[in-house]
Symmetry: D2
Subunit: 419 residues, 4 copies
């Protein structure tokens, strides 16, 4: 898990590798899958392909050459996600309405921009700022690789036909691992990224925090455990829920985690490899913050803060289940037997009780890139640890992911904590 | 314009002809165009292809054989439009969320059902009821041919790229024809379809109505005339509008007809053949009932009733601009020079001031087919006359089309009347 | 039932009589009842008091004197209902947000305007136009007397405490009257108001219509009959409903008529005299057009057209249950025994299947008063016959009331018809 | 500013004092003002009067006597705000729809419950738990005193007539005080309430935090300063706003703080004492978190965290402008001349950048009272310092107020911080 970065040669190789993984992830899709947007937060795969390309044009090529002429001038607004500083973005909820440009045109657009990037790299004159922008573009595309898989899972999994993204036989079932709480002493701890190496603006500065002693669960909450919550009336007991959570489950009519499908008296779960009986020892996935918090309340526990998480888990990488190529298993695996903190990286993102806020002394990236993270520091919660759909060389121990508390289309699970 | 019908041989030919026209109309589309739904009332082309096929399965094949096994059992609800009597229809606003079944699978589904229909016809035992159901299925598919073109126009025309459906050079411009009002004496008139021959349930029974003398415009309102209304502040003067219309244009922020695109000081108009400068002598298209009514008010006139329309225009077919194949011009043409009622059939549907209601003695089709028309007889207005996207052998002088007063994605124009 | 009108002396008396009835109708209310608006279509009683007064200022006093200074200049927009021609009306859904002006101030406002009207009448120079406007103002206030009682019924009846407006013991129960269908021959009939005498613009011109023979129920549908529809699953059977009706009952979660309150296995009904067990022989009230139409469908009948209604019932006034003072019974009574058409005037308004449209040759009132009726001729249905809350001297056989098909807070019931 | 508490005698006096202040605050209202709810978050004054009384019944009287019979059994659900544990609360957005019970009945209800509380106190047997509940009820009523004034300000101030709540001449204008940033060294600090004495559950436990050095503005942002932001296009520059904030001002069409009223080229401000020209040296009030954050961004500063605030300002009480009786000035005053931290208590609540979250080791109140605070710890931000409408003996240095970032009907202002 060496993060992306480096000199021009490495950049060229990294560029080729990242861009081709995106294409490889699209290989199992039917042409029909590229354009749909079943929910407002889901983007069509075609849009991801074009947006990540637009990114390199806007923030690298146009920056390198003030006279830069876009490959497709009329597409600029269409594939601007949210950068108000470089034009008026096309409305997000309407991305699924765009049958044009066609997928074929978008692949050609990617080729064209790849060629222009190659030419830029061939000229061999990238200054520090440009190298940073190109590296950022690769990290950006990696984020969209994860989003692509998340979105494909919604596109196929909320369709009544529930076709698999990529059929694959499941790993052998495993024994349940006992839940234990590991003791962590309090005191002063330092969190955040100190450099050198690439990091997003939101991971810095590294700074001290004061922790009280706490306990952290050795593994994630399992499907079997969460099913017990469901069967105990968890979704019908207001005393377990945050007020906004109670309103959310009523409005959305939620009675179980996302992509759980009733099956007689039991449940099936849609995975990227198809619909399958709920795996009791696998961690519960696709829960919102509200559900994670309600479960913790029911279990007599709480969610950890992000500082607690980073302090205890930041250095534990063994056995990380991350995205390494386009062939592997894309569903979180049960915890293996063993001591210490399990499932701490990869598998599923873990909700923390920390709202997404600037670290003390936070400075956003300069210019329009400052819109990358800072403007979202409100109303969202931090998740830590990465998921089975997170590219392996994208993650860092200081990495801060963030979603609204009602979101659950990301690969999110629950690790409990206690005072 | 001989309507569809007839003996088994003719039916076989008609079936082949209608089904292949649907395919031909799809030929200019990119694969991407088949799945999108830019507005709730628009259906993706793929959905039209599957739904019309489902129709033959559900109302013909399953009726012919009580043990009938659907070609695709899991698709039945997906392509049920609104027939509560044969299952729970998949929600209309979510049609654009269905990437599966794929287009390829849907084409194969059409082939399979075509083969089953051919086998049924080959058995040569169709009774009267079944022949009627098959004929109805063809008229139904013809309605969807028009809907397909309407929907494609929205899909391409509301996309900022505004690609043409089929590029074609415009017919030569024509001279404006003077607007005249033709006098029609009152008295008793008979409207509605008396048989024999195919008709929808809503066209019968033929019945007498009492008309007062009235005057009917010899041609449709032109783009030039409607532009004068716009420039006279038509969309800003509440006294011209129905109360619900005034609320609608405020909510939708309408300032001109549908698919008019501002172009400097003037306007362009999106047509199925691409974006083009507004043609002054062509009839104004894509206006809602509210806009038609406000224009009439501004012009010191009114809209005709459907009885007035049928009485005066029912027999005037000369020069009808209708859909005859997949090659022709798909935009309403200016009126030709000449006496009498012009543009009365084809070109554009004409709003009447008659709300869509049952004729005296109305009897809906039997069984679930009774949902075809009757349950929509509320809150909609009747349009008469057919459009350039209406199949030529689908139309009859007694034909009643109907839309909500806020709808304007259909090919609708304005013919004025006066007392 | 002599309609309001006449020479100056009679006008002065009529003015006093109408205005004091409004005040008398308010007498049973608590101060708290005057300001609330439990649903968008309900106006607070205080608003009715002020709006009817504003009407006399705007359309009579200001018309009589070009230099007229309003009694309360800052209130003009607040109490303009929908007349775009005389300013920008305050938004209807926000009427319940206005605690100021206070009720005390509004009563004083009424007194002030009454004094100014008295002074105008005392000058004795009312021309024809002004006399008409004053008469119209009285008819307008009578409409608001009915609205006031409708709105009070919602204000008190949708509050969980369900306090009576005016406690009164119910009339003695009555025997059910058999349902019969009276035969009416077809042919040419004339409907509409021919003058002289006051009428709204929407009742004219009188004109011929062609009717086919039809049958009309001798009385309204009763609570017992409608309960049988409910118990037969009427609200759960889509085949009985118009498409928009089916969507409406799903959205509103309707399972019975308005103001029916479940009571163990049975029902109670809220009336202006309090909550009481459902009276089986009383006519079913507070049904929407959708419910009326579904019931008719279930009963193998249909609703009459307004022409059928006026032709058959226009002259039948015996036994009309209308509003005569502020003391009487304000709930529809069961049909009395007897031959012929029963309950044809008063008791409940009767839904017709006629959408609200202009009569041939319709001319709206001149100027801003043209907004009175004409701009609502879209999306609504005509009701005929008057209700127990309609002032007796307000009604005429040609009177056209109108509501949206989803409305049911008016006193509306069902009379069946058959071909 | 001694907080409420103590032995039975003091409790009796405190009860009388708090309850009578509520009544005194209502004295300037017209009867009409008691029932309206102009926005969902505003409750009618009558509701506040009844709810605070219901509180004493439900959490004190019913707790003291298991056989307790409510004074008004049918009102229990109506005046339950959000306690799912003691029944199903009446929907908050419908509070303004309740004309019954009447104001007169509600005053009688208060008298009845006051008598029952007096009887309970006279029995002299209050145990610790009951004394706590009674004390909590008084703090609860004090919170509703502030809410009452906030809500009255909305009721009168968003009505176009903009009547004053209580006319009072403004204090003499003052000189602007220079803005200075006071340096605060970092290190370990302790925040939260350590007891003894009354505190809400959300203020505990007292715990250490680690602070970096920071600077805190000596006074609040003034109207003049905020007007400069407005005039610099502050509401039109996306780069200054959080993403959710930018969406909020678009949706709400905000162009200035709440209750600023355009007045020619300038602004007026609605205060509880009437509409008045904007006071340049007074602090800007009724800003949302989004506006506070955008202003800070524009000013090259940030908002403080709640720990920073409590550490620096927790002990500074001089000159607090709080609610001491029903007669005083109810609008924030300009900063006085002087050194150190000004306006730190009273005047206006100050937005912090801390989202409302449980302190480490947080334990909610036991039983249904646990719903008091804990379930709101999501999506809201903490405000500190109290306002001119906060009862003086209600506040503590550790007091945590909280609102959604889009809320601005509370008395909220801005204090800047810098790293």
């Amino acid at each position: 898990m060496t993060p992306l970065s480096a000199d021009d040669d490495a950049l060229e190789a990294a560029y080729a590798r990242v861009r081709s993984l995106t294409a490889a992830l699209c290989a199992p899709l039917a042409p029909d899958d590229f354009g749909v947007q079943p929910r407002e937060e889901v983007s069509p795969p075609k849009w991801h392909l074009a947006h990540t390309t637009w990114y390199f044009e806007t923030f690298v090529l146009a920056h390198a050459d003030p006279a830069y002429a876009p490959a497709q001038p009329t597409w600029q607004a269409l594939f601007n996600s949210y950068y108000q500083g470089v034009g008026t973005p096309y409305p997000r909820p309407r991305r699924g309405a765009l049958s044009r440009p066609t997928l074929k045109q978008v692949w050609a657009y990617r080729d064209e921009v790849d060629a222009r990037i190659a030419a830029l790299l061939a000229r061999g004159e990238l200054d520090e700022a440009l190298r940073f922008r190109l590296t950022l573009g690769l990290h950006h595309e990696q984020q969209h690789q994860e989003l692509l898989l998340m979105d494909v899972k919604q596109i196929l999994g909320t369709n009544p036909l529930r076709a698999p993204y990529r059929a694959l036989s499941a790993p052998a079932a495993s024994e349940p691992q006992p839940l234990e709480f590991l003791e962590v002493p309090g005191g002063e701890a330092w969190i955040g990224h100190a450099g050198p190496g690439f990091r997003f603006d939101n991971e810095a500065p590294r700074h001290p925090v004061r922790l009280l002693p706490y306990r952290l669960a050795n593994r994630l909450v399992t499907n079997a455990e969460f099913r017990a919550f469901v069967e105990d009336g968890g979704y019908r007991r207001p005393e377990l829920w945050l007020a906004d959570g109670w309103a959310t489950i009523a409005r959305e009519d939620w009675k179980a985690p996302g992509l759980w499908v009733p099956d007689g008296d039991g449940w099936q779960e849609y995975t990227l490899h198809g619909l399958a009986p709920l795996q009791p020892t696998a961690p519960v996935a696709h829960v919102s913050y509200y559900e994670a918090n309600a479960y913790a309340c029911w279990a007599g526990a709480r969610l950890p803060t992000e500082a607690e998480w980073e302090h205890a888990a930041g250095g534990v990488h063994a056995d990380a289940q991350l995205l390494r190529d386009a062939e592997g298993w894309l569903h979180p695996l049960p915890a293996r037997a063993g001591p210490g903190l399990l499932q701490a990286h990869g598998g599923l993102w873990e909700w923390t009780q920390s709202s997404y806020a600037p670290y003390p002394g936070f400075r956003p990236f300069a210019g329009s890139l400052g819109e990358y993270n800072g403007k979202f520091m409100c109303n969202q919660f931090v998740l830590r640890g990465g998921a089975c759909v997170t590219p392996a060389d994208h993650l860092r121990p200081t990495y801060r992911n963030f979603y609204y508390p009602h979101d659950r289309w990301q690969f999110a699970g629950i690790r409990l904590a206690r005072d």
